[in-house]
Each structure stands twice: as structure tokens, then as C-alpha cells.
Symmetry: C2
Subunit: 428 residues, 2 copies
């Protein structure tokens, strides 16, 4: 069960910040083997590995237009409505992230600006398993569509019958996904990184996955393919004061704990009673949870920490750098300024993590394992490049030229200096 | 010498897009050894490797406040003025990249926004060698300062006398660099990635370097330290029409070619005479170039390509995805819309690459080796994280709740559903 600590010394905090480590090094040989075969045999290798790893002999890798069209009939009306509404909120929030062009004249006659261009070809991986992770389709394909990516390739493993869950196909049909392939695991990442007869080589690969997918994405990154961010198990940190509702906190902790046995949940509070009540409520709610066994294991990696001061909770949280940070506080806005490192923040007692996981509009692909110290979550920015531009006229080079000449000369790059001198000379 | 091609078939273009490959895999053993020793022996290992690799026995790793103060007296007045002006332009351009907070109500009672936070601790690497690369100090430390990074650590190798060039120290003094260390190569990257008694472990490492530094940055990345971008040799692609000046083009090509023997320069034109005249001018200008031998070798990796149509030049350029793209065209603005992949673009005959390398205001840390297809150059964004926030009130959860419940249920994550249901129930 979740452990309780009281006012731990600062030099012991790192112990609570240790995440269960994803061991990918041992998989490297397998990953290398799959990549080599895909490079050599292309599509044939993909059929081979799908039969070997997924136990299904496919006739075609690509999902047909008919299969996509049929999907909408196979899911319930209420689910399709919910997906449409969630997609609309996600579109709204991510559309706001487009950057307007601003031209600045840094010196008279020297004009500088940035322009945004989509990454032309992107790949999205959606894991398989018993449940269809259609929410990940929305979270990745919608910003790709807003960015204007020309090719949006989606790979997701088929079930034993060689099918993809209709909810995934329906979600894809709400976005700009250009092609969907029945392909999972290492072979899916290899196909998108290297390209085959039917699957385009993409420039950036997005999406969560198990340790095989994670190791394959790392391998692809070392080959020069960009990836969304490093992977790690999911996590939440909640800071609660005496005004918070222990039942809500317990539900939020459990919603995180049910993700996987390697998930981690942390509760910080300056009120010991809240901690006790939350633990009680966890025990009650656990009984009803279908994924109880998973949650129990995750709770073993998890901590409740009492700190006398709320400020210390924030200090700890910044050191932990949680993927999800819930401020279950009476006046949460007052504390925003203390937040340095976090993936996504939820304010107030009604902002549960699942709102951001599914439908409020923010992205759920977020930095885990402390990467919130240096990474942002997926946003429109993840699907574009920003190119700098400069236009310099005669008066600009006259003003800027002598500065460049002196600097280039002192860096002993006379060719750089000449490029200016030759222009200044012709202007005289 | 540079090769000439005429209207090559599209399926042969990839040959001209091959970059000289940086072979880092063979260095992995050495990198691993240095990292292990630095992890174990910390500062002692740094003194050891500095003696071994740089041939200098240091008394202190950190540059003293006095050394920094003295630096300004040791450089010429005109260089310090040039640095101040360049710094001012770089500040102006990068300040423009701050994002304003925008709150959007995606559903009634559901408020979402992003806030920007600096990456708290960043490391900047500035290579050594005969010439002091003070421009790199400005390009990396200025956006770090604007972002508000708390610790900005600068590592650069000492010379045989255990000193750092005063121009580097002066450039650092113009920015927010908090500590400067006399430390180069793999050991510098290891120190910033792992931390020692005197050097802080940072969250992200920036800066160019030789193959040792590149391999060390890759190694650090696999340990979970963010890096600015993958490395590769520098390159320029120029698109010129008949109105352009062959002497300017030649000077620009040479300013790139002098960087290193593995640099690459490409000239595309729809006017064959311009190509011929440029090659003639290269031969003339080469004679005066101190780094002639380097430039000659780089020109051997380089290409002039005649295409009948200007549009085809842009098609080729997008496939090549150059670090620097110069449009030496009469009406360059007309062609901006054709640009998909590039690091930084220079418009018109007076916008030479060295302007952006030093002083116009744009950043010179740019994606090479085709990475412009998926990466942007360094900007203010490189030094911050964008955290998403959401605040949901009672009417918000009432509106959004049922959507989340349906989605969570269909993804078989009942804990996620419960986090909403428990709130909706208490509201009834």
C-alpha cells in the first residue's frame, strides 16, 4: 500500500523522486534485428513480424477506406458524439498555439522574422492491447492536422482477427490522418523510420508504447528521426489542503494508479487528516475497481507526504517534476507562481486529471519521469518548424557590415569577413 | 573542386543530399569510460582528463570573477563595441519570441491555457581551438537569459596556459552566464550531465563541438539529459537567378566552405552563366583565403546544379533541407511560399550568411544534415517549457463530465471514469 512520510529532510527527497526505470538496453539486440530486416525486406518483413509477434497473417497492411467508413456504424452513438466533442475542444485549444508572423527591424535596413512550416511527414503510434486508445489518436492527429502536416501516418497493431478497433478508426476519421496501417511494436517504428514500399519514411515519430516501442523509438532517434519525447511510466502528484475532498483525491490517485503497475502517485499535504482520510477512501474505492490488481501494485511505488508548509509541497513538486500536477487547494491560483516543473496542471476540486486525459482540450502526451524539467508536452509546436528569415538592404549592410567584419576577423574566419567586405566595396 | 550538374533526374537528387557522416559509434567506448570516471571521481576526474586531453594542469576549474573583469581590458575597443551591438540585436530578436498567456474557455466553465517557465539549469558548450567562438556564447546565453534560466553554466576548454580567451569571457559577461568552467571535450559534457562538486548537473545541454563532444551529447541524451539538436557539419544552399552577383555568391559559398573540410556548399541556378562566373570567382577569391586548404577540401563535397526552372531549385532545396538558405534572387519574397525545409533564410543580395552568423539578431545554432525537416534552430523556445493549465468549475464538470465518462469507459479505464462520477454524484 501507499507509504506515508512526515516532513522528510530535503536531502532525502530524491528517494521519493525515483521512478521505476524502463530497462530498454537489453532490448537493443532485438530492436536492431527488426530494423535490419525491415530495411532489407521492407513490407515482407512487416508481414513476417506481424505473424510472429501479433499472431496474425495479414492480407494487407493498410486499412481500407471501407473499413474506416464502416467504423462509425460499429460504435455507439454516445461514444461517437463524445469523440466529436472532445475533438472539437482539442482543436480549439491547439489552434490557439499558432504563431503570428512578426517582422522586427533590428538595425535600420535589417529585417528579421520567423515563419512556421509543418513537418511534412509524421508518424503516430497508438498501442494495442485490450482497450482501444482512441484518445491518443485525437491528441496526436489533431495538432498534426492543424499544423498542416502533409502525411500523417498512423500505425496500430491488429487484433487476432487482423482488425483495428472501430473507435480508433472513427477517431482517425475525425482528424487529418492520411493512412492507417495494421502494424505494431518495433516493426511499426522501424517501418516509419526507414520507409517501405507501402509506408512512408516519416521525419518525426509520436506516441506512447510498451518497452519494445520505447526502445525502438530510441533506436530511431539515434538514426536521426525526431521523436516526441523520452518515455516513462505515467504519474500524478496532488497537493491538497484541508479544504479538499479526500474522495476526489483518492479517485484521482486511483485513476492514475490503474494505468500500469509501474505508475506512481504522490500526495502532498499540510493537513495530516486529509492524508488519512484519502487513504481510507482509496481502500474503499479500490474494491470497486476492475483494474484493482494493477492499482495495488502501483500504490506500492507511491507516497503520501505530510509537510508542515504548503510552500514546501511546491518545492518538493518542482524537484519531482510531475507529469500531472493537481492543486486541490481552496485558492489554487495563488500558488501558480510557485510552479516551475510540471507537464500539465489541474486547478481546483473539479479539475480531475481525466478531464485533461480526454476532453478539456489540453494535450495528454506529457513529459514523465522528471522530463518536465526540460520538456514540454506535445503541442502544435511539436508538429512544426520555425524558420528564421532575414532581409538586409543597402543601408542595413552598411550599418551591420563593420560589426560582422570585426567579429569574423577575431574568430579568424576571413571568408566570413570577405562576404561582407566584397559587398561594402561594391557599394562605395 | 566543386562539381557541376545539369538538370539531374529527381531520382538521383538523394546523391547530392548525402552529407559527410559523423561517425560517433566508434567513440562510444571512450565516452562511456569518461562518463564513468566523472560519475565516480567527480572533480578529480575532470582535472585528470584536462591534463590528459588538453595538456594542462589546472589549479581551479572555475574562471574567477577577476579573470572575467580583466577580460574587457584585454580585447580591442572595436571588438567590445561590436559584441555589445550584436548582443543587443540578438536580444531584440529573441525577446520577440516570448509567448503571451491566452486563456480559452473550451466549454462553459472549462478554462485552458499555457504558461511558460524557464528550464532552470542549462549548460552551454563552446568549443576551443585556435580562434575564440565568442559568437556562440552570445547565441546561446542570450536566449537563456531572456528565458530566465537560473543557472547558466558555460564550459569551454582552456589553452595550454590554462586560460580562456578574453573575448569569450567578455561575451559571457554581456549575458546571464552564472558560472564559467575551464573544461572541454567529453569531460565537459559528462560534468554537466552528471554534476560534480563544483559543476551543477544541468537539465539541457547546448552547443556545437567536434565528434567527441557530439558523441558525448548523444550519450548524455540517452541518459535523459535534453540536448539542443543533433549535430552535423555546417552547410549552405544558394538559389541564384541571372540578376545575382557571382562575386557575392562565391564569397558566401567560401564563407561556408572555410568552416571545416566536411562542410558542404550547394549552388542552384536557372542561369548557367551565373554558375560559370561563380566558379571563376571562387577560384580568384580562394587565393586570398587563409583557410584555403580547408575550403578546397569542402568544395570537393560540393555541387553546382543547373535547373531550367527556378521552381525545381526550390523542390531540390526542400529535399536537401539546408541549414542556411540564401535566395540571391531579384524578387526573393515572391518565393518564400515555396520554402518548406530550411534552418535560416537570407533574402536578397546583401543578406550574406555571416550577417546571421554574427549580428543581425537571428540565431546561428541551426539544424544541419537535413534535420531542418523536423527541427527548428535554437530560439527562446529551446530554453523554456510550456506548461498547460486547466481550471474547471461546477458547470464545467457538469458539461464535460459525461463525455469523459463515456470515453474512459470505452478505453476500459474505470478509475478515470470514477474520478468524474464521484464529482458529478456529489454535485447532485
Amino acid at each position: 500500500m501507499i507509504k506515508i512520510h512526515q516532513n522528510p529532510e530535503k536531502n532525502t527527497w530524491y528517494q521519493f523522486s525515483q521512478r521505476p526505470h524502463l530497462e530498454t538496453f537489453t532490448l537493443n539486440e532485438l530492436v536492431k534485428e527488426v530494423f535490419e530486416k525491415v530495411k532489407l525486406e521492407k513490407d515482407a518483413a512487416l508481414y513476417h513480424f506481424t505473424e510472429k509477434f501479433d499472431g496474425v497473417k495479414l492480407e494487407s497492411l493498410e486499412v481500407s477506406h471501407e473499413e474506416v467508413l464502416e467504423a462509425s456504424k460499429k460504435i455507439s452513438n454516445e461514444l461517437s458524439k463524445a469523440l466529436v466533442q472532445a475533438a472539437s475542444n482539442i482543436k480549439l485549444f491547439h489552434s490557439l498555439q499558432t504563431e503570428k508572423k512578426q517582422i522586427i527591424e533590428t538595425e535600420k535596413g535589417v529585417f528579421c522574422w520567423r515563419e512556421t512550416r509543418p513537418i511534412e511527414k509524421v508518424g503516430i503510434y497508438v498501442p494495442g492491447g485490450t482497450a482501444p486508445l482512441f484518445s491518443t489518436v485525437l491528441m496526436l492527429a489533431i495538432p498534426a492536422q492543424i499544423a498542416g502536416c502533409k502525411e500523417i501516418v498512423l500505425c496500430t497493431p491488429p487484433n487476432k482477427d487482423g482488425k483495428i478497433h472501430p473507435a480508433i478508426l472513427f477517431a482517425a476519421s475525425l482528424t487529418g490522418v492520411t493512412k492507417i496501417f495494421k502494424l505494431g511494436g518495433i516493426q511499426a517504428i522501424a517501418a516509419m523510420a526507414l520507409g517501405t514500399e507501402t509506408i512512408s519514411k516519416v521525419f518525426k515519430i509520436f506516441g506512447p508504447g510498451n518497452q519494445f516501442v520505447t526502445a525502438a523509438k530510441e533506436f530511431a532517434q539515434n538514426l536521426g528521426i525526431a521523436i516526441d519525447m523520452p518515455a516513462g511510466p505515467s504519474e500524478v502528484l496532488i497537493i491538497a489542503d484541508k479544504y479538499s475532498d479526500p474522495d476526489f483525491i483518492a479517485a484521482d490517485l486511483l485513476s492514475q494508479a490503474e494505468h500500469g503497475t509501474d505508475s506512481q502517485v504522490i500526495l502532498l499535504s499540510n493537513d495530516y487528516t486529509i492524508i488519512e482520510k484519502t487513504i481510507h477512501s482509496i481502500q474503499v474505492q479500490l474494491e470497486q475497481l476492475p483494474r484493482k490488481e494493477i492499482a495495488i501494485k502501483a500504490l506500492e511505488n507511491s507516497h503520501c507526504i505530510y509537510f508542515s508548509e504548503l510552500e514546501t509541497c511546491f518545492e518538493f513538486s518542482n524537484e519531482y517534476a510531475p507529469e500531472h500536477l493537481i492543486l486541490s487547494l481552496k485558492k489554487p491560483k495563488k500558488y501558480i507562481k510557485f510552479i516551475q516543473n510540471a507537464g500539465s496542471v489541474f486547478l481546483g476540486k473539479y479539475a480531475c486529471e481525466s478531464a485533461g486525459d480526454y476532453a478539456s482540450g489540453t494535450n495528454h502526451t506529457l513529459p514523465t519521469a522528471g522530463f518536465a524539467k526540460s520538456f514540454s508536452g506535445v503541442s502544435l509546436d511539436s508538429f512544426v518548424k520555425k524558420i528564421t528569415f532575414q532581409k538586409i538592404n543597402k543601408s542595413g549592410i552598411k550599418k551591420l557590415g563593420p560589426i560582422i567584419e570585426i567579429m569574423a576577423e577575431n574568430e579568424e574566419l576571413i571568408g566570413h569577413k570577405n562576404a561582407v567586405s566584397i559587398r561594402l566595396n561594391k557599394l562605395q
